[in-house]
Amino acid sequence: MSLFWLIVLGLAMGLVFGAALEKSRVMEPGVLVGQFQFRNFTMLKMFLAATITGLVALAVLNGLFGVALHPKAFAVGPVLIGGLILGVGIALAGACPGTALAQAGAGYRDAWAIIAGGVAGAIFYGYAKAPIDAALGWGDFGKITFADLLPLPFWALALIFAALLAAFLFVLERLAPWQEDLAQAETMLGDPACSDGGARPAPAE
Protein backbone atom coordinates (compact mmCIF):
# COMPACT_ATOMS: atom_id res chain seq x y z
CA MET A 1 0.00 0.00 0.00
CA SER A 2 1.33 3.44 -0.86
CA LEU A 3 2.29 5.87 1.89
CA PHE A 4 -0.68 8.10 1.03
CA TRP A 5 -3.22 5.32 1.55
CA LEU A 6 -1.44 4.10 4.70
CA ILE A 7 -1.89 7.57 6.19
CA VAL A 8 -5.53 7.81 5.06
CA LEU A 9 -6.19 4.36 6.55
CA GLY A 10 -4.41 5.30 9.79
CA LEU A 11 -6.48 8.48 10.14
CA ALA A 12 -9.73 6.61 9.46
CA MET A 13 -8.91 3.85 11.95
CA GLY A 14 -7.81 6.46 14.50
CA LEU A 15 -11.14 8.29 14.17
CA VAL A 16 -12.96 5.12 15.19
CA PHE A 17 -10.43 4.37 17.96
CA GLY A 18 -10.65 7.90 19.38
CA ALA A 19 -14.45 7.96 19.32
CA ALA A 20 -14.55 4.64 21.20
CA LEU A 21 -12.12 5.96 23.84
CA GLU A 22 -14.20 9.14 24.31
CA LYS A 23 -17.67 7.55 24.30
CA SER A 24 -16.71 4.84 26.80
CA ARG A 25 -15.03 7.43 29.09
CA VAL A 26 -11.96 5.14 29.23
CA MET A 27 -9.85 8.22 28.44
CA GLU A 28 -11.05 10.01 31.59
CA PRO A 29 -8.17 10.28 34.11
CA GLY A 30 -10.61 9.54 36.93
CA VAL A 31 -11.71 6.36 35.14
CA LEU A 32 -8.20 5.14 34.21
CA VAL A 33 -6.72 5.80 37.65
CA GLY A 34 -9.99 4.53 39.17
CA GLN A 35 -9.25 1.12 37.65
CA PHE A 36 -5.95 1.04 39.53
CA GLN A 37 -7.84 1.97 42.70
CA PHE A 38 -10.46 -0.76 42.05
CA ARG A 39 -13.33 1.71 42.21
CA ASN A 40 -14.15 1.87 38.47
CA PHE A 41 -13.89 -1.13 36.14
CA THR A 42 -14.60 0.59 32.82
CA MET A 43 -11.00 0.31 31.65
CA LEU A 44 -10.64 -3.40 32.39
CA LYS A 45 -13.98 -4.14 30.69
CA MET A 46 -13.10 -2.21 27.54
CA PHE A 47 -9.59 -3.66 27.51
CA LEU A 48 -10.79 -7.26 27.83
CA ALA A 49 -13.63 -6.76 25.33
CA ALA A 50 -11.04 -5.49 22.82
CA THR A 51 -8.74 -8.42 23.64
CA ILE A 52 -11.54 -11.00 23.24
CA THR A 53 -12.58 -9.46 19.90
CA GLY A 54 -8.96 -9.50 18.76
CA LEU A 55 -8.53 -13.14 19.84
CA VAL A 56 -11.59 -14.23 17.82
CA ALA A 57 -10.64 -12.10 14.81
CA LEU A 58 -7.07 -13.43 14.81
CA ALA A 59 -8.23 -17.03 15.38
CA VAL A 60 -10.19 -16.69 12.10
CA LEU A 61 -7.56 -14.70 10.18
CA ASN A 62 -4.67 -16.95 11.26
CA GLY A 63 -6.52 -20.26 11.53
CA LEU A 64 -8.55 -20.09 8.32
CA PHE A 65 -6.56 -17.75 6.10
CA GLY A 66 -3.01 -18.16 7.40
CA VAL A 67 -2.53 -14.43 8.09
CA ALA A 68 0.83 -13.99 9.87
CA LEU A 69 0.85 -12.94 13.55
CA HIS A 70 3.25 -10.35 14.96
CA PRO A 71 3.78 -11.18 18.66
CA LYS A 72 6.39 -9.14 20.53
CA ALA A 73 9.41 -10.83 22.12
CA PHE A 74 9.44 -12.02 25.72
CA ALA A 75 12.56 -10.45 27.20
CA VAL A 76 12.12 -10.78 30.98
CA GLY A 77 14.13 -7.70 32.06
CA PRO A 78 12.72 -5.15 29.60
CA VAL A 79 9.15 -6.44 29.82
CA LEU A 80 9.07 -6.55 33.65
CA ILE A 81 10.95 -3.31 34.38
CA GLY A 82 9.53 -1.44 31.38
CA GLY A 83 6.01 -2.61 32.22
CA LEU A 84 6.37 -1.41 35.82
CA ILE A 85 7.68 2.00 34.71
CA LEU A 86 4.89 2.22 32.14
CA GLY A 87 2.31 1.51 34.85
CA VAL A 88 3.73 4.28 37.05
CA GLY A 89 3.50 6.59 34.03
CA ILE A 90 -0.12 5.65 33.31
CA ALA A 91 -1.10 6.56 36.87
CA LEU A 92 0.85 9.87 36.88
CA ALA A 93 -0.28 10.88 33.40
CA GLY A 94 -3.78 9.47 33.83
CA ALA A 95 -3.35 8.25 30.27
CA CYS A 96 -1.72 5.66 28.03
CA PRO A 97 0.16 6.82 24.91
CA GLY A 98 -3.03 6.46 22.81
CA THR A 99 -5.51 7.92 25.30
CA ALA A 100 -3.32 11.01 25.82
CA LEU A 101 -4.19 11.96 22.23
CA ALA A 102 -7.89 11.28 22.88
CA GLN A 103 -7.77 13.55 25.96
CA ALA A 104 -6.19 16.33 23.90
CA GLY A 105 -8.84 15.91 21.20
CA ALA A 106 -11.67 15.98 23.73
CA GLY A 107 -10.35 19.29 25.07
CA TYR A 108 -8.18 18.55 28.11
CA ARG A 109 -5.30 21.01 27.93
CA ASP A 110 -3.00 19.10 30.30
CA ALA A 111 -2.94 16.29 27.71
CA TRP A 112 -0.61 18.40 25.55
CA ALA A 113 1.93 18.31 28.41
CA ILE A 114 1.56 14.50 28.57
CA ILE A 115 2.21 14.27 24.81
CA ALA A 116 5.22 16.62 25.04
CA GLY A 117 6.57 14.60 27.99
CA GLY A 118 6.01 11.42 26.00
CA VAL A 119 7.96 12.69 22.99
CA ALA A 120 10.75 13.78 25.39
CA GLY A 121 10.71 10.32 26.99
CA ALA A 122 10.95 8.64 23.58
CA ILE A 123 13.87 10.92 22.61
CA PHE A 124 15.63 10.18 25.92
CA TYR A 125 15.25 6.43 25.30
CA GLY A 126 16.54 6.81 21.74
CA TYR A 127 19.77 8.40 22.97
CA ALA A 128 20.15 6.22 26.08
CA LYS A 129 19.13 2.91 24.47
CA ALA A 130 22.59 1.27 24.64
CA PRO A 131 23.19 1.65 28.41
CA ILE A 132 19.53 0.91 29.22
CA ASP A 133 19.58 -2.28 27.11
CA ALA A 134 22.90 -3.30 28.69
CA ALA A 135 21.41 -2.93 32.17
CA LEU A 136 18.00 -4.49 31.53
CA GLY A 137 18.40 -6.70 28.47
CA TRP A 138 18.41 -10.07 30.18
CA GLY A 139 16.31 -13.21 29.80
CA ASP A 140 15.34 -13.01 26.11
CA PHE A 141 13.10 -15.94 25.11
CA GLY A 142 12.23 -14.56 21.67
CA LYS A 143 8.77 -14.07 20.21
CA ILE A 144 7.04 -16.91 22.04
CA THR A 145 3.28 -17.30 22.43
CA PHE A 146 1.28 -19.62 24.69
CA ALA A 147 0.42 -21.56 21.52
CA ASP A 148 4.16 -22.38 21.21
CA LEU A 149 4.21 -23.74 24.77
CA LEU A 150 1.01 -25.79 24.65
CA PRO A 151 0.11 -28.62 22.25
CA LEU A 152 -2.75 -26.71 20.65
CA PRO A 153 -2.95 -24.63 17.45
CA PHE A 154 -3.18 -20.85 17.89
CA TRP A 155 -6.82 -20.63 16.78
CA ALA A 156 -8.00 -23.22 19.31
CA LEU A 157 -6.09 -21.71 22.21
CA ALA A 158 -7.21 -18.20 21.22
CA LEU A 159 -10.88 -19.27 21.26
CA ILE A 160 -10.45 -21.02 24.64
CA PHE A 161 -8.73 -17.96 26.12
CA ALA A 162 -11.44 -15.70 24.67
CA ALA A 163 -14.13 -17.86 26.30
CA LEU A 164 -12.34 -17.74 29.67
CA LEU A 165 -12.01 -13.94 29.51
CA ALA A 166 -15.68 -13.64 28.50
CA ALA A 167 -16.70 -15.75 31.51
CA PHE A 168 -14.59 -13.50 33.74
CA LEU A 169 -16.25 -10.39 32.26
CA PHE A 170 -19.69 -11.93 32.81
CA VAL A 171 -18.96 -12.38 36.53
CA LEU A 172 -17.34 -8.93 36.79
CA GLU A 173 -20.39 -7.32 35.20
CA ARG A 174 -22.66 -9.02 37.77
CA LEU A 175 -20.51 -7.63 40.59
CA ALA A 176 -19.98 -4.14 39.15
CA PRO A 177 -22.50 -3.04 36.47
CA TRP A 178 -20.98 -0.75 33.82
CA GLN A 179 -23.79 1.81 34.14
CA GLU A 180 -22.72 2.59 37.72
CA ASP A 181 -19.12 3.19 36.68
CA LEU A 182 -20.31 5.36 33.80
CA ALA A 183 -22.52 7.39 36.14
CA GLN A 184 -19.45 7.97 38.33
CA ALA A 185 -17.49 9.21 35.30
CA GLU A 186 -20.37 11.48 34.27
CA THR A 187 -20.53 13.18 37.68
CA MET A 188 -16.88 14.15 37.19
CA LEU A 189 -17.76 15.68 33.81
CA GLY A 190 -20.75 17.47 35.28
CA ASP A 191 -18.55 19.08 37.92
CA PRO A 192 -18.64 22.86 37.37
CA ALA A 193 -14.85 22.83 37.76
CA CYS A 194 -14.73 20.93 34.46
CA SER A 195 -15.41 23.97 32.30
CA ASP A 196 -13.98 26.86 34.30
CA GLY A 197 -10.71 27.22 32.38
CA GLY A 198 -8.54 26.06 35.24
CA ALA A 199 -9.74 27.99 38.27
CA ARG A 200 -11.22 25.73 40.87
CA PRO A 201 -11.77 25.71 44.62
CA ALA A 202 -8.98 24.58 46.88
CA PRO A 203 -9.30 20.87 47.68
CA ALA A 204 -11.15 20.11 50.86
CA GLU A 205 -8.75 18.78 53.46
Partner: protein, 171 residues
Protein backbone atom coordinates in the same frame (compact mmCIF):
# COMPACT_ATOMS: atom_id res chain seq x y z
CA UNK B 1 -26.50 1.26 16.26
CA UNK B 2 -23.52 3.17 17.59
CA UNK B 3 -23.49 6.81 16.58
CA UNK B 4 -21.06 9.70 17.00
CA UNK B 5 -23.88 11.76 18.50
CA UNK B 6 -24.44 9.24 21.32
CA UNK B 7 -23.29 10.59 24.65
CA UNK B 8 -21.89 7.21 25.66
CA UNK B 9 -21.09 3.72 24.42
CA UNK B 10 -20.80 0.83 26.85
CA UNK B 11 -17.23 -0.29 27.54
CA UNK B 12 -18.11 -3.58 25.81
CA UNK B 13 -19.27 -1.88 22.60
CA UNK B 14 -16.18 0.36 22.64
CA UNK B 15 -13.91 -2.65 23.23
CA UNK B 16 -15.45 -4.66 20.38
CA UNK B 17 -15.07 -1.68 18.02
CA UNK B 18 -11.40 -1.28 18.96
CA UNK B 19 -10.79 -5.04 18.74
CA UNK B 20 -12.28 -5.12 15.21
CA UNK B 21 -9.62 -2.58 14.15
CA UNK B 22 -7.13 -5.47 14.34
CA UNK B 23 -8.64 -6.80 11.10
CA UNK B 24 -7.59 -3.89 8.84
CA UNK B 25 -4.32 -3.59 10.80
CA UNK B 26 -3.32 -7.21 10.08
CA UNK B 27 -4.81 -7.45 6.56
CA UNK B 28 -3.86 -4.06 5.13
CA UNK B 29 -0.82 -2.92 7.14
CA UNK B 30 0.55 -6.34 8.17
CA UNK B 31 0.96 -5.22 11.77
CA UNK B 32 -0.96 -5.10 15.06
CA UNK B 33 -2.60 -2.07 16.66
CA UNK B 34 -0.17 0.03 18.67
CA UNK B 35 0.41 3.62 19.71
CA UNK B 36 3.73 4.20 21.44
CA UNK B 37 6.03 3.72 18.41
CA UNK B 38 4.55 6.91 16.95
CA UNK B 39 6.16 8.86 19.81
CA UNK B 40 9.57 7.63 18.59
CA UNK B 41 8.71 8.75 15.04
CA UNK B 42 7.73 12.19 16.39
CA UNK B 43 10.75 12.19 18.73
CA UNK B 44 13.11 11.39 15.85
CA UNK B 45 11.88 14.35 13.82
CA UNK B 46 11.91 16.69 16.84
CA UNK B 47 15.45 15.60 17.80
CA UNK B 48 16.58 16.14 14.17
CA UNK B 49 15.67 19.81 14.48
CA UNK B 50 18.40 20.39 17.07
CA UNK B 51 20.70 17.43 16.38
CA UNK B 52 21.15 16.63 12.66
CA UNK B 53 22.88 13.37 13.68
CA UNK B 54 19.72 12.09 15.36
CA UNK B 55 18.32 10.69 12.11
CA UNK B 56 21.53 8.61 11.82
CA UNK B 57 20.85 6.88 15.14
CA UNK B 58 19.55 3.43 14.16
CA UNK B 59 16.67 3.48 16.65
CA UNK B 60 15.26 6.80 15.37
CA UNK B 61 16.02 5.94 11.73
CA UNK B 62 13.96 2.75 11.95
CA UNK B 63 10.87 4.64 13.11
CA UNK B 64 11.36 7.50 10.65
CA UNK B 65 11.57 5.43 7.47
CA UNK B 66 8.90 2.73 7.41
CA UNK B 67 5.33 3.12 6.16
CA UNK B 68 4.10 1.08 9.13
CA UNK B 69 5.20 3.82 11.54
CA UNK B 70 3.70 6.61 9.43
CA UNK B 71 0.46 4.60 9.49
CA UNK B 72 0.68 4.46 13.30
CA UNK B 73 1.45 8.18 13.53
CA UNK B 74 -1.65 8.86 11.41
CA UNK B 75 -3.58 6.51 13.72
CA UNK B 76 -2.77 8.50 16.87
CA UNK B 77 -3.57 11.81 15.12
CA UNK B 78 -6.85 10.16 14.08
CA UNK B 79 -7.46 9.23 17.74
CA UNK B 80 -7.30 12.92 18.67
CA UNK B 81 -9.62 13.85 15.78
CA UNK B 82 -12.03 11.04 16.65
CA UNK B 83 -12.21 12.09 20.30
CA UNK B 84 -12.66 15.73 19.19
CA UNK B 85 -15.58 14.82 16.89
CA UNK B 86 -17.11 12.48 19.44
CA UNK B 87 -16.98 15.02 22.28
CA UNK B 88 -18.14 17.90 20.09
CA UNK B 89 -21.04 16.02 18.50
CA UNK B 90 -22.31 14.78 21.87
CA UNK B 91 -21.93 18.00 23.80
CA UNK B 92 -19.20 16.77 26.13
CA UNK B 93 -16.16 18.90 25.24
CA UNK B 94 -13.70 19.03 28.14
CA UNK B 95 -11.84 22.12 29.32
CA UNK B 96 -8.60 22.66 31.25
CA UNK B 97 -7.99 19.43 33.15
CA UNK B 98 -10.13 16.78 34.80
CA UNK B 99 -11.50 17.77 38.23
CA UNK B 100 -10.70 14.18 39.25
CA UNK B 101 -7.07 15.32 39.56
CA UNK B 102 -7.91 17.89 42.20
CA UNK B 103 -9.79 15.28 44.18
CA UNK B 104 -7.15 12.58 43.79
CA UNK B 105 -3.94 14.57 44.23
CA UNK B 106 -4.93 18.04 45.41
CA UNK B 107 -3.40 19.71 42.32
CA UNK B 108 -5.51 22.80 41.72
CA UNK B 109 -3.82 24.78 38.92
CA UNK B 110 -3.50 23.91 35.25
CA UNK B 111 0.26 24.58 35.34
CA UNK B 112 0.71 22.28 38.33
CA UNK B 113 -1.23 19.56 36.59
CA UNK B 114 0.74 20.13 33.35
CA UNK B 115 4.03 19.67 35.22
CA UNK B 116 2.70 16.39 36.63
CA UNK B 117 1.40 15.40 33.19
CA UNK B 118 4.76 16.13 31.51
CA UNK B 119 6.58 13.99 34.09
CA UNK B 120 3.93 11.29 33.70
CA UNK B 121 4.22 11.35 29.91
CA UNK B 122 8.02 11.07 30.11
CA UNK B 123 7.84 8.05 32.43
CA UNK B 124 5.03 6.58 30.31
CA UNK B 125 7.02 6.55 27.08
CA UNK B 126 10.31 5.61 28.76
CA UNK B 127 8.57 2.52 30.17
CA UNK B 128 6.75 1.76 26.93
CA UNK B 129 9.95 1.92 24.88
CA UNK B 130 11.89 -0.24 27.36
CA UNK B 131 9.05 -2.79 27.35
CA UNK B 132 8.69 -2.50 23.57
CA UNK B 133 5.02 -1.57 23.62
CA UNK B 134 2.20 0.08 25.52
CA UNK B 135 -1.36 -0.68 26.54
CA UNK B 136 -2.29 -1.05 22.87
CA UNK B 137 0.72 -2.93 21.48
CA UNK B 138 1.46 -5.17 24.45
CA UNK B 139 -2.01 -5.03 25.98
CA UNK B 140 -4.80 -5.25 23.43
CA UNK B 141 -2.66 -6.63 20.59
CA UNK B 142 -0.15 -8.76 22.50
CA UNK B 143 -2.74 -10.57 24.57
CA UNK B 144 -4.91 -11.12 21.47
CA UNK B 145 -1.90 -12.96 19.99
CA UNK B 146 -1.33 -14.96 23.19
CA UNK B 147 2.18 -13.48 23.45
CA UNK B 148 3.90 -14.56 26.69
CA UNK B 149 5.94 -11.36 26.97
CA UNK B 150 2.92 -9.12 26.50
CA UNK B 151 0.99 -10.96 29.20
CA UNK B 152 3.88 -10.41 31.63
CA UNK B 153 4.08 -6.76 30.52
CA UNK B 154 0.36 -6.24 31.25
CA UNK B 155 0.74 -7.73 34.75
CA UNK B 156 3.75 -5.47 35.41
CA UNK B 157 1.84 -2.47 34.02
CA UNK B 158 -1.07 -3.06 36.38
CA UNK B 159 1.35 -3.58 39.29
CA UNK B 160 3.08 -0.25 38.61
CA UNK B 161 -0.24 1.54 38.17
CA UNK B 162 -1.83 0.05 41.29
CA UNK B 163 1.20 0.90 43.46
CA UNK B 164 1.27 4.49 42.20
CA UNK B 165 -2.49 5.05 42.38
CA UNK B 166 -2.45 3.78 45.97
CA UNK B 167 -0.68 7.04 46.84
CA UNK B 168 -3.60 9.07 45.41
CA UNK B 169 -6.77 9.78 47.32
CA UNK B 170 -9.81 7.75 46.32
CA UNK B 171 -12.61 9.95 44.98
Amino acid sequence: MLSLTDRNWSPYAAGVVIGLLQIPAFLLVDTALGASSSFVTAGGFVASLVDPAAAQIDYFAKYMSSGKYFWQSALVIGIALGAFLSATMSGSRRASFSPAWTRMTGVSSLWGRMAMGFAGGFVLLLGARIAGGCTSGHGISGMAQLAVGSTVAVVAMFAGGILTAAMFKKV
